[in-house]
């Protein structure tokens, strides 16, 4: 009970005024900065990497997507090829139990109902620290990006919520997907 109260105190009412605006487009490998190519070679990805240019409201980044050890990886760089973060798609049960409890408490507190749709474990740090990934994650900052469909204020919408390595809420953004009228009617 004490733990639950602590979680709720540390989980403020989610301020979700921000909308996730991202435009991504596929790019060829020769459009990717050399520094980024070198980095993915040092990590040792053995499958084909698909490259994308991502434009958000305030930044542009280059993202490589691949599979490694049967997991989906996203590696994000800035436009100069400096590593920003590595994200791995995971399942709810892959989250540490303490994180599961914290996230569930926070989301239950803020949404009448919610469903987890996608989870990515995010690792970030200096170039030197990141280049030792995945052998070691020592010194790296770990976060969890969780996409949910949630009901708040009577409306069911999509959200991307970011939690720190202890499962404490950091930020949330509303996601607006292209409608699916053309698939439903």
């Amino acid at each position: 009970m004490k733990t639950l109260v602590l979680f709720l105190l540390l989980c403020p009412a989610l301020c979700i005024s921000q909308v996730k605006v991202e435009k991504e487009s596929r790019i060829k490998t020769d459009e990717v900065p050399d520094k980024a190519i070198k980095f993915v070679k040092t990590v040792g990805f053995d499958k084909k990497i698909k490259w994308y240019r991502e434009e958000s409201a305030d930044s542009v980044s280059i993202e490589g997507k691949t599979k490694y050890n049967k997991q989906k990886y996203s590696v994000e760089f800035d436009t100069l090829g400096t590593i920003q973060d590595i994200e791995i798609k995971i399942q709810w049960t892959d989250l540490p139990e303490v994180v599961q409890h914290a996230v569930d408490s926070c989301l239950s507190h803020n949404f009448k109902t919610y469903q987890v749709k996608k989870i990515q474990e995010q690792f970030s740090g200096s170039h030197n620290q990141m280049s030792k990934f995945p052998e070691t994650t020592d010194g790296l900052t770990i976060k969890y990006e969780i996409v949910i469909s949630g009901k708040s204020n009577g409306e069911i919408e999509w959200f991307e919520c970011t939690f720190d390595q202890n499962g404490l809420w950091e930020k949330s953004r509303r996601i607006i997907y292209s409608n699916s009228d053309n698939l439903e009617y």
Partner: protein, 219 residues
């Protein structure tokens, strides 16, 4: 992919059937969607069919007009329930159809929609027709992971229809590949083929191929 190939070969085999009625035409449609509140929206659709070719008779160019209105209730971000009514004008006669719809849209890892529809068709001096339909469809952006504004996409759907009329059970199959363009999240245009294989169980199959042009607009 394997499933798609099997379906394609099945359709090719059917189209080589000597007695098959083969017709082709153009089928433009306008889909207007109005969100009334966070839960309820209306879909208004007008569709025309214009004949260009038939291997049996010289058909009239104008075949029919459908106008439908469906009220949809959003259960959650993925699931929608709909109730609607369709009015068909064909050869100077009106046909009435009531429609009940259930759809689920899955967004990860790709956008896939499942739609189950039951409908009942009534016309003067004709026995009613009852249909049960299942459609699976997907929308794949051509230049990225998600569909952005001013981007092309590929859409394909496959529908299976069972129908009951005058005590006779029949089955139709539809396969519809489309190339679409998204002007915005609320404005899309698609052009593609609407292949329909009808009356597959009783030995007199028909094949219709329509060039379909669809405009979807939400406001």
């Amino acid at each position: 992919m394997q499933r798609l190939l099997v379906v394609c070969f099945f359709f090719l085999a059917l189209s080589s059937h000597a007695q098959m009625v083969v017709e082709a035409g153009v089928m433009p449609s306008i889909n207007l969607n109005k969100k009334l509140n966070s839960k309820i929206k209306l879909n208004f659709k007008v569709e025309n069919r214009l004949n260009i070719y038939s291997n049996l008779i010289s058909p009239d160019v104008y075949e029919l007009t459908d106008a439908s209105l469906i009220g949809a209730y959003k259960v959650n971000t993925a699931t929608t329930l709909g109730l609607g009514y369709l009015l068909r004008y064909r050869s100077g006669r009106l046909t009435h159809r009531s429609v009940q719809q259930f759809s689920i849209v899955q967004y990860f890892p790709v956008k896939i929609a499942h739609r189950i529809v039951t409908d009942q068709t009534f016309a003067q001096n004709e026995d009613p027709t009852f249909r049960l339909r299942y459609r699976i469809g997907t929308e794949l952006p051509l230049f990225g992971k998600t569909l952005n504004n001013n981007e092309l996409y590929f859409k394909v759907s496959n529908e299976y229809l069972g129908l009951l009329n005058s005590g006779t059970v029949e089955m139709d199959i539809r396969l519809c590949p489309f190339l679409g363009y998204s002007f915005s999240k609320k404005n899309k245009v698609e052009i593609g083929l609407d292949h329909r294989f009808e009356r597959l169980l009783q030995g007199n199959p028909n094949m219709h191929s329509w060039i379909a042009v669809n405009w979807f607009y939400s406001f």
